[in-house]
Symmetry: C2
Subunit: 423 residues, 2 copies
């Protein structure tokens, strides 16, 4: 019997992905349906509904669910759910379809799913702003002047504000997992696949490390605390889309592979990836991570500094604090069962002679090796030496190569621009 | 409202220590009662019953409880309890008292308690052996030839086999905490005192580190994992008696003070001591630690390598495994609520560039700084250099001083012996 935490929502893994003959039949039917182009974010959400990662969701939210989730972090039926999962469509598309109809959801030429429309609701500028304030506003300095800063600097807010004029809700049948299974063959995993792997190892108490950045010593430290006190750790990377300037998934996966190979005991670590785009919703996204990770069989979500944050929108540890304030329905199935494993700001400390956090190291700033991501990127792209103890050499080599490539690309572009090339 | 785990047994803190007028009256009465001399171990047990550390026990076990605890790790009423807490008396004393009578329990001239006798039962050689096999026998090499090795090399077994011919059970009224409050004024704490201190800090999830040795980097690492994932850690030292050769409590407390001062963040650590003698019962003693720690408000017991072990009697991690096999009654109050926080063998690893365990470090023996206690004692007493990263310099200074003192004492003894001095 599995020792893993049950999926969220009390209905087992709710998987909307079709297979075999059913899939073929639905594909044929879909070709004849009204086609609606969807965003990259919606594609990731769809795949998660396909593979059970978003259990118990089986479609995009109607107005009642959207409103309830924004306001109360509960689905209309009282089940915990932290962020809206909605599909935006244009005024024209909204006028062309009606409730009860089936439509095909398409991303860049591939039919990803069919949906049986259950609700079409307008999203005015005011509605979008209302959603953004509830979902994205935090307690950091940037959130104090939210509407001055966010529309330009918050990628999640920008995305919602740029959504089309209507949302459409309805249950989905998912037809494809997109490029993920082939692009990340050893990393991309469905909840059922990850659960099977963990069941094989007999795991019950599992920690997950959320990663959207290359793994430095601080991340390694978090993961290893997970290994020390749980049956094992899942290094669970986002392999969907990020904001410009972030390091692409392929490079991150290579860094993790190397790190796992050289610095982890393989029995106690699994690298896995999930197909979502970043929402940058800080605390609420930390809750989303815990929610879908429960579906993946994970019951301890490592939460460090500024989890899923962006700029100065969120307080350093808001994503830890929010777990104490969420509604936790009495019914087991409706409650979030994946717990936060909160870790303070971590660093290497020379006096401690190892990694430490603000909770375990009493020493001073001068004893600690602390580097901002921006500073590190600068050092790497300039080929400068990174301070001792900050990262693992084997990982820095990969990052250096990536940044050199970037620099070359920029130089080529500049040369082309200078020589007037049209390419 | 306190966030701490409730005391074991579902009856709150059961404290048999008298105070004020009641204490004075009982003391007067006790002076006129039949006096029974008790062992050092029984004195520690008594004080624990006095301060609520052994809740729900309110006296020494009668035959039914002794038998049930040895066999099933349950009190006769079905409450979990891992080791017998009994009082041995001589044949002569047994003949001189009877059930229903009150007696005074005395240790080295001090009346520690009165007891209302409820049961007097013979402990034959066979009974003692039966108890020893159930309580002390493990799975290590020394336990394979238990009766050849234990009577000479297992201090716990030696103690039980040397017990007098009878046990006497009955409820107690405790009159004194002995020398502990004055000898360890900043360290010795009752469960109520430790709970108050932790309530003040708002702690709910608390880890405890069991210590009967000076604190090296490995112990520090365990404690700090506790700090990272709990509200705080209690460094909880045994301040009762140990086997010859172990380092006395005063020296250990000084080492911990220094370590806490230089290497811990004070908000997240409390040093405390409890008045028991070591039983060296390995796995069963680890359970006893978890049981009385629950009374102290602790719900996570750090369990490392060979917890409470002696020689090669116990498997390296038997004390971790036993937690999975114990009877856990359905009723909340009867169940052990303090959980083990198991940590593998830990060490400093040069390649990891910090502390690690067998679960987190994939490197080889050559990369690790591992030192046996025996080897370390030898190095310290000879004034030899201890390898880098093994201990904190500030602690090693204290230990060196202690061992130099020991060496001087031995030298003085030898000189005296050589010069024929009678002192």
């Amino acid at each position: 019997m599995s020792r893993l935490v049950p999926p969220h929502g009390g209905k087992g893994l709710v998987c909307c992905l079709l297979e075999g003959a059913e899939l073929e039949a639905e594909k044929k039917k879909a070709a004849g349906l009204k086609q609606i182009e969807i965003s990259s974010r919606a594609k990731g959400d769809l795949i998660m509904m396909g593979i059970g990662g978003f259990s118990p969701l089986n479609g995009f939210m109607d107005k009642a669910n959207w409103k309830s989730v924004c306001e109360k972090m509960l689905l209309a039926d009282g089940t915990f759910w932290p962020v809206p999962v909605t599909l935006d469509i244009s005024k024209e598309d909204a006028a062309a379809i009606k409730v009860g109809e089936e439509v095909a959801l398409v991303r860049k030429g591939e039919i990803m799913a069919t949906m049986k429309v259950s609700d079409i609701y307008e999203m005015t500028e005011a509605d979008k702003k209302w959603e953004c304030e509830l979902v994205f506003k935090g307690e950091g300095p940037d959130s104090q002047n939210f509407w001055e800063v966010a529309p330009k600097d918050h990628p999640g807010v920008k995305m919602v504000m740029a959504q089309k004029e209507f949302n459409v809700g309805g249950t989905v049948k998912v037809l494809s997992q997109g490029e993920f299974p082939t692009k990340f063959p050893n990393v991309y995993m469905t909840p059922a696949q990850l659960r099977a792997k963990m069941d094989e190892r007999g795991w019950g108490k599992v920690a997950a490390l959320q990663l959207r950045n290359p793994m430095h010593r601080s991340h390694e430290y978090l993961a290893k605390i997970g290994v020390e006190v749980c049956d094992g750790v899942v290094i669970h990377s986002l392999v969907g889309a990020l904001k410009p300037g972030d390091i692409p998934a392929e490079v991150r996966v290579e860094c993790i592979d190397t790190l796992v190979d050289k610095y982890f005991v393989k029995d106690f670590v699994i690298q896995a990836g999930y197909p979502l785009d970043m929402r940058y919703a800080g605390p609420r996204e930390a809750l989303l991570h815990a929610t879908f990770r429960q579906n993946y069989g994970i019951n301890n979500q490592l939460v460090g500094r500024d989890h899923a944050g962006v700029g100065d929108f969120y307080g350093m540890f808001e994503a830890q604090e929010i777990f104490k304030k969420i509604p936790q329905p009495a019914e087991d199935g409706k409650r979030l069962l994946c717990q936060p494993m909160n870790i303070d700001w971590t660093f290497y400390c020379k006096k401690c002679d190892g990694m430490a956090s603000m909770r375990t190291c009493p020493h001073s700033k001068e004893d600690r090796v602390i580097l901002s991501g921006t500073k590190l990127r600068k050092m790497l792209s300039e080929g400068a030496e990174v301070p001792d103890h900050f990262g693992r050499d084997e990982v820095l080599v990969i990052l250096r190569k990536y940044y050199e490539g970037l620099t070359e690309k920029v130089e080529v572009k500049m040369q082309r621009a200078a020589s007037g090339s049209a390419m």
